[in-house]
Symmetry: C2
Subunit: 327 residues, 2 copies
């Protein structure tokens, strides 16, 4: 698509105008915003980082492998298991069909789980020798349930977000894994405050209106099963197809004619940093570990606003993109 | 367009989804919002009314024809003159072409102007006998310039809007006219706080994303000139065509196939009432007079936010609507 075409195509104009008006820099604050300041970011649907915003949290100051084992001693936790760290991601099956594949989930003692994660990271086995990757990533308000004994070490809510959005968090989630796990590019219907506790998270971000760039396709659902021999096997599932972005901004392949107009924004969170990830933003997340070989983060999901014009306009941009790419 | 078509057409889906999610009720507050509360409305780009929000202003309490004459004694003001109260509106010329016609502007003593407006209203001459309509409607920050002697009777800014939007008003405008003047459906690139002082204003509102409903067309510019005999004549002007909405929600004609999906919202402001008219909303404004035969209002324009996703998404909806209606 050359410049002349871009001007004639409303979908191309949308992406280019957006980037012209907004730039690609994620603002970095040195302290948490007020509720009003936060609301201005929500109104613009634009991300920001608060460097060290959670540096004073007990979690940030005290958590490590030993402390977590101590707090969760004797507890069993839900673990997502995949062959390559590819939970909830578009993956080709043996026949070459791109599937939306969910992880195998199993209960493990926390101690066994975290030791596996840590040892795998520190042993630096070559990727091709990895047989399974484990990730504690249940996004079901686990920090107020499964991991309730840890909850008092983080903020109960994010006050400036709670006041601005007039609601308590819908879910607060804990994430523990190592550098082999990557979360594929996707979006959530939530305003998201992401807080790094141990290690680093690396985000690749695209605004919602980049629909035409991400090559959303209807993927057949699948999931991994652990076979009797212990290995993982992808199994096709019944059920409706899942609409999912298939373009990975970091890899060749699955581009649309619009993908090159996208300007992915990248940001790395260090321990104590907070990210406001606005509703409907596409995000791909990878991670680096502490010297103990784990990465741990907490995120707060607040229901997004479906009133007003933002959601219907995003929906319209998506429908228009799907219609244009189909023809 | 039947229901099945609506579901298949992203432009129709946009308008219907918006109305489903938002309803058609304009919230009525009984006191002015905080900056944070206001920012939530800005984020949703949704209007509200504050009943009696300016009831305590000196202007609301003391202005009438005599007081205004006293305050503006000996002053000359800019007056927009039209044959039918149709300033800045799509009007057919003698050849039947729809033109974007601007008023004839002339300087008059304030006293002469306001007496004309008032007497015309109170005399109740039949519309067909009206030869000219006068309206003080310069939207050039006139309350801090031409009408500066009145400015201390209103708020210098709207504190909750100034704090939320982090800026002083870009323009503060005074409007004086009678019930013969109507402002045609149009939109402005401003966040607008509209304050009724004398008489009533009747607003018909449509959200920005109703682009496909308003039948925007490229109109040739024209303006009225006063001829030597005193009558008004429409004269075609040189210059670029003006993109302008041609559908009037109150009248048959100029509909598009989408117009019937629109749900115009209506609200009447009484003296002391304030309206938040969000950026890019289409508004048609008519007026009723006090028993002295005049209508007077003040509005505060704040620059809108072009950053974030709202403006590019609105622009996209407009481009898409224009493209769809052209084919």
């Amino acid at each position: 698509m050359d410049e002349a075409q871009t001007l004639l195509d409303p979908l191309a104009e949308l992406v280019t105008t957006y980037h012209e008006l907004n730039g690609s820099i994620i603002p970095e604050l040195s302290e948490c915003p007020s509720a009003l300041e936060f609301m201005r970011h929500v109104a613009r649907n634009r991300p920001f980082v608060v460097r060290g915003g959670a540096a004073g949290w007990k979690a940030t100051k005290t958590w490590n492998v030993a402390a977590l084992k101590d707090l969760l001693t004797g507890q069993s936790v839900n673990v997502a298991v995949t062959p390559e760290g590819n939970a909830d991601s578009p993956t080709r099956n043996e026949e070459g069909e791109l599937m939306f594949v969910k992880p195998w989930e199993e209960q493990q003692s926390f101690e066994e789980f975290v030791d596996f994660v840590s040892k795998q990271e520190l042993s630096k086995v070559p990727v091709e020798s990895v047989t399974e990757v484990r990730y504690a990533q249940t996004q079901n308000d686990n920090l107020r349930n499964e991991y309730a004994t840890l909850f008092s070490h983080v903020e109960r809510d994010i006050p400036w977000a709670r006041i601005a959005l007039q609601q308590a968090p819908e879910a607060i989630n804990l994430w523990i894994g190592n550098s082999l796990s990557t979360t594929a590019l996707h979006k959530d219907n939530y305003e998201n405050i992401y807080v790094q506790i141990i290690g680093q998270k690396h985000f690749v971000l695209l605004p919602p209106l980049a629909y035409a760039c991400v090559n959303e396709r209807q993927l057949s659902p699948a999931s991994y099963r652990r076979s009797e021999g212990g290995g993982l096997k992808m199994v096709k599932e019944d059920g409706e197809k899942v609409p999912f972005a298939t373009w990975d901004p970091d890899q060749e392949g699955n581009e649309t004619s619009y993908s090159k107009l996208a300007k992915p924004m990248r940001v790395t969170l260090n321990p104590g940093d907070m990210l406001y990830l606005p509703a409907l933003w596409y995000h791909k997340v990878s991670q680096s570990c502490s010297e103990e070989g784990i990465c741990c983060a907490v995120n707060y999901w607040f229901d997004m606003e479906f009133g007003g014009s933002f959601y219907p306009l995003c929906n319209f941009a998506r429908s228009s993109a799907l219609a244009a790419l189909k023809t």
